[in-house]
């Protein structure tokens, strides 16, 4: 059932077994999964069915550090959340992304890849892509296209699957609206997480509409699924009872903010024209495990090489357009047409990279308040210098393998031994309420439950201890499936 919260009486008291705050990919997946489970679910959407300026303005904040897109434009505050402008790129995290890597601070998920696989399978259906199979050889064979002749122990081929993309607010609207045990409230904004006397459980959630109608939600269990920026903001802003905010005895809430630094059209790769690059330079329609999907291939370093060289993960896609029009930055003064006449493929690579967690890359409460009276968000995104050096080294290895395999050569933008190109954001907000078995190092445990607050769970990219390089939505949805199973079995009532 969809309910416009503006129709509620001021002071209304809503009760539920589970209250999900946030109606994006994670929140809607949770609500879908909890249907018919015997639990009464309240789903709060901090906007209407369509995005609107008044709601987007609630997301305004200040950026320090690396300046990226405006905070109120990179996210969508509406039913369906940021899937309203999701690009649809899907790939699971790599198995080693879940493992502890000695050179990667904060690495080591309390969940293994093998444990995640069943949830990834379900997530693939939720985001409407093919089966959970990421074997590039099988897909290339199905397409009748070759993969490049790298030594796969050094440079591997990967591929993404493209969601249509699934606009959760549209695709799953009817399923939510018709579920008798799910009440989805629109224009329903959390304003404070109120704890009980001992500060060990959530007592209730204070909420209001943008217009000012106030109401409360009291539930046995609560899930914040507001995204990697709003989850920490709401925990920090609920500081009337505890000055550090809710679930923040460790002081970790808001810290360790991670993005996936994107370096668009950066290195230039010359590949002999006799190599067939079709698999890499276009999006292809193909069936994966008998389900239609669209795929796009890229290249990456193997797990063994990354481990040996202590390098973060990354994937490079080959730009689909001809690089000749963009050679000015590679070879200033050389006529653009010069390269095109010479027979080789000249291809730009766009890299999507993992950044190492950095405690100083953080979300904090800034100055001023929004229309709900909540402190504005301040985001300081930084990337460690070591990451730029590691990326430079990573591209050296790719270049050497290109040469060894007689495939081509690589140009890498470099300055003072560092990869040098302006990082762009992916809109992937991770790490700000990290998952760790230790309450000193993490905000949530392996079940996504807050260490400090027994009946409060967090969903979304904020719980990622490390981000890998894969676009996060598939993993966010997989974790939501996993959390739904936990909630259905009655954990921590």
């Amino acid at each position: 059932m969809l309910i416009d919260a503006r129709t509620l009486a001021d002071g209304a008291e809503i009760t539920a077994d589970v209250c999900i705050v946030g109606a994006g990919a994670a929140g809607i997946t949770l609500a879908l999964e909890l249907r018919n489970s015997g639990l009464a679910v309240a789903l709060l959407a901090g906007g209407l069915e369509k995005p609107g300026d008044a709601y987007q303005n609630l997301y305004r904040g200040r950026m320090t550090g690396i300046d990226t897109w405006d905070l109120h434009r990179m996210r969508v505050r509406a039913f369906g959340g940021t899937t309203h402008h999701w690009g649809g790129w899907c790939r699971p995290l790599s198995p080693e992304d879940f493992e502890r890597r000695a050179w990667m601070p904060g690495s080591g998920w309390p969940v293994t890849y093998a444990e995640m696989v069943p949830y990834y399978r379900r997530a693939q259906e939720t985001v409407q892509i093919g089966g959970f199979s990421y074997d590039p050889v099988a897909v290339a064979d199905a397409l009748g296209m070759p993969i490049l002749g790298f030594d796969p122990d050094v440079v591997e081929t990967r591929f993404y699957q493209y969601s249509p993309p699934t606009r959760f607010g549209t695709v799953y609207r009817q399923a939510i609206a018709s579920a008798p045990d799910v009440r989805a409230y629109l224009d329903a904004h959390l304003t404070e997480i109120v704890l009980d006397g001992p500060r060990a459980r959530v007592s209730h959630l204070a909420c209001r509409t943008l217009g000012g109608t106030r109401f409360t939600v009291t539930a046995a269990r609560h899930v914040l699924a507001l995204g990697g920026l709003e989850n920490p903001r709401m925990l920090l802003a609920s500081n009337r009872q505890l000055p550090e905010g809710v679930a923040n005895r460790s002081g970790q809430v808001g810290r360790w903010f991670m993005e996936h630094p994107h370096y668009y059209s950066a290195p230039a790769m010359i590949v002999d024209a006799r190599n067939d690059l079709r698999f890499y330079r276009a999006v292809h329609d193909v069936d994966v495990e008998a389900r239609p999907t669209r795929v796009r291939a890229g290249i990456a370093l193997s797990a063994a090489v990354r481990a040996a060289e202590k390098l973060p993960n990354f994937t490079c896609t080959l730009d689909t357009g001809d690089a000749t029009g963009a050679t000015g930055s590679v070879a200033p003064g050389v006529a653009d047409g010069l390269l095109a006449r010479r027979g080789s493929h000249v291809v730009r690579l766009s890299a999507r990279t993992e950044q190492t967690p950095d405690p100083d890359s953080a979300v904090t409460l800034g100055e001023g308040v929004d229309a709900l009276g909540l402190p504005r968000l301040e985001l300081h995104w930084s990337v460690r210098d070591e990451d730029d050096r590691a990326l430079r080294r990573a591209f050296e290895i790719v270049a050497a393998e290109l040469g060894r395999a007689s495939l081509g050569r690589l140009w890498v933008p470099t300055e003072d031994g560092r990869f040098s190109w302006d990082p762009q954001p992916g809109g992937h907000h991770m790490g700000t309420t990290r998952m760790d078995t230790s309450p000193d190092r993490g905000v949530v445990d392996a079940d996504s439950r807050c260490h400090d607050v027994a009946n409060l769970y967090l969903a979304g990219g904020s719980v990622f201890p490390t981000g890998g390089d894969a676009n996060p939505t598939l993993t966010i949805v997989a974790l939501a499936h996993r959390l739904a199973d936990h909630l259905k079995t009655g954990g921590a009532r």
């Binding site: 050389v334 047409g337 010069l338 060894r404 690589l410």
Partner: protein, 135 residues
């Protein structure tokens, strides 16, 4: 069989890039034909690069020599490649060992960054030998 990178294509493309700042005039469209090589290695170099790619090799070589900075450094850098060529009985044998050397260098992570291009020292030394053959 993996197709190999056509050396001429590679050289021309890289030349366009690496020499652009200091040596753009050498690689612009409509370059005059290169003067004849005057080198005991002329046959080998032409066999390896292809006669019509020598100008590009020369330009890359010039930039490499500039980057090396001194004659002494250049001697150190070019010496192994020159020795490799001296040991070959004919041009065909030289081309084969040069190709093998380049592959071995890449496989062994022995690379050189020339203005961002990640190249093998041997192929750069060859280019430098072409340059010197003209000067």
């Amino acid at each position: 069989m993996k197709p190999g990178l056509a050396r001429r294509d590679f050289l021309r493309t890289v030349a366009a890039a690496v020499v652009a700042l200091p040596l753009a005039s050498l690689t612009a469209c409509g370059d005059p034909p290169p003067p004849p090589l005057d080198s005991e290695y002329a046959e080998i170099l032409a066999a390896y690069f292809g006669a019509d790619a020598l100008a590009d090799a020369r330009a890359i070589g010039a930039r490499y020599l500039e980057a090396l900075g001194s004659d002494d450094a250049a001697e150190v850098a070019l010496g192994p490649t020159r020795a490799l060529l001296d040991a070959q009985p004919d041009a065909a044998g030289a081309v084969a060992v040069l190709q093998a050397a380049v592959t071995v260098e890449f496989a062994g992570d022995r690379i050189y960054d020339l203005d961002g291009w990640i190249l093998s020292p041997t192929e750069l030394a060859l280019c430098a030998l072409v340059t010197r053959a003209w000067t």
